[in-house]
Symmetry: C2
Subunit: 334 residues, 2 copies
Amino acid sequence: MKSRPTILDVAKQAGVSKSTVSLVLQGASSVKDETRSSVRQAMADIGYVYNRSAATLRSSTSGLIGLVINDLRNPFFTEFAARFQMELAKAGFATVLANTDEDPKLQSQMISSLVEHGVSGFIISPAYGEEATTLAVLDAANTPTLQVFRTLEREGGTFPLLAPDYLTGGRLAAEHLLEKGCKKIAFLGGLEGRPVTRERMAGYLSVLEEVGQEPLILTGQSTRAFGKSMAAQMRKDHPDVDGVICFNDLVALGVLAACPDLGIKAGRDLRVVGFDDIEDGQDSYPPLTTVSSNIPDFAASAARQIVDWIKDGVAPPPEARSPVRLVIRASSGA
Amino acid sequence: MKSRPTILDVAKQAGVSKSTVSLVLQGASSVKDETRSSVRQAMADIGYVYNRSAATLRSSTSGLIGLVINDLRNPFFTEFAARFQMELAKAGFATVLANTDEDPKLQSQMISSLVEHGVSGFIISPAYGEEATTLAVLDAANTPTLQVFRTLEREGGTFPLLAPDYLTGGRLAAEHLLEKGCKKIAFLGGLEGRPVTRERMAGYLSVLEEVGQEPLILTGQSTRAFGKSMAAQMRKDHPDVDGVICFNDLVALGVLAACPDLGIKAGRDLRVVGFDDIEDGQDSYPPLTTVSSNIPDFAASAARQIVDWIKDGVAPPPEARSPVRLVIRASSGA
DNA sequence: CTGAAAGCGCTTACAG
DNA sequence: CTGAAAGCGCTTACAG
């Protein structure tokens, strides 16, 4: 197989100049319909494939978007990534993936690599740590950059953030458990001090304060394993807890998995609410009540925002919050 | 911010010719150390960023690898994708992601887009259906293409396949359940007729035949939801089943989730084995016995193979099988 | 509506 | 070990 045909070959085949071929490629309306179709036919005949590298070099827009995710193995992020990529594909953009695994060093390295590839924009759910470096690399890229879920803060402003309304989510969860009659509600998981933890916790705290119930906070990892081990420990140290709001669904699923061995009937002795509404929560035992941030809509909205920003050059607002809702299932009592 | 500096600017700054700068960029050993470091210094000083589009155009090698996955939301594939991407990053390649969601139309469309971006190679876990179209697009790309987990078959040969040794996995699972004393072992899930289903089932079938036990096969979707509903139905239609080998961990986790409501004690009344060893299986109740294909090693091996193929031009063997092992946890009886 | 020419930022032989 | 020149395949003004 020889090297691929170029627009010159197409032009020759179609009997037009290469400019005309280029115009057809870009869908310019100035080309006569007849010419257009004969050019398209020529392309098909000789098996022409568009060479984006050449186009990128000349026009300095790559059609590539960098998706930087702090933990791709967390199903919440996976669902987001999968949806986001498919939305972008619809808009004609390809997604270059970088999983940073919560490692800020890897993060700035991978972002640099994406910049070299000339990505036209970034969507980033950042890993924390070494904020200055990461932000500097992104600054230098000088390209539309939208943060999702998490934000790297700095004085003088950072990149726009799109995130679910976690505060309201925390409120909804707490109010729901109160309605169910819980007398002692704990908040479980989430790394101490992180903005996301603070937000999810804030709704819970304000509701508890309103009714005069004492909060109980047990921060930590956001994994199933943590939920599982903390369920046991909570049973021992705080046997009066009858409701728990978990930082995310993974922690909640860990709690549910621990219940049988602890002799706890989840949904009755202990009412459990999670955050995120990952798909697994529908099929756990019992099915998980959770604060949904509607990942499909969220991903579509993120895709729309970055594409618009790239095309129109107008940045989204510094911070936007998407609506959340409580999805009630058996884990909080039928 | 003006346009980025180019190697010409670097050359001027360092007082050398641009060829020399290019040589430094490529790590050529022919450049004097002193020259090299002054060039590097110049790059840092003026904030030079390598433009890969230009390099790609000239050298026709992009450093991009297309990762095409049939179902990214399945944690098994997610874990693979995450590991694979990170391995590739180590080798200096970026990963362009395409989730086809089992849709062959989307698949050929996305592959075409990746070809336009000039990916240097493909890793594909293909969606089934319209094999001819997909294979034709990949043929035309004329670039190293490695299939993983699944294969699109065709007369006259297809692209090389790298997959775990599912047949042995099925044997191991069946032998284990027999040792545990199971009298009636079912195989649950997996789409009828698919090569992967056939392979995973084949080991089970041969072991059962050896001991003269009658097989019971209930194929279907490979989801938690399927496992959950089938557990109930199996209870009704085949109450004598005391062991079940599930097509994958998702099905197995669905079965486990259904057990409490059915009054079944998993690991005692019903011994359950899955396939894949996804992380969730460690924290289910009870923890899941499963056939592990060692995703981290598998991903590293896939990355190595495609990178070698790209660099040396030598294709891997038509089919390679990676080792599997049985990870025994409580779901098959402690 | 279409053509001829220049140029995007690199790499690649080829001299020296 | 380093320099001058050509060229990768497009897009972009600019004429006509």
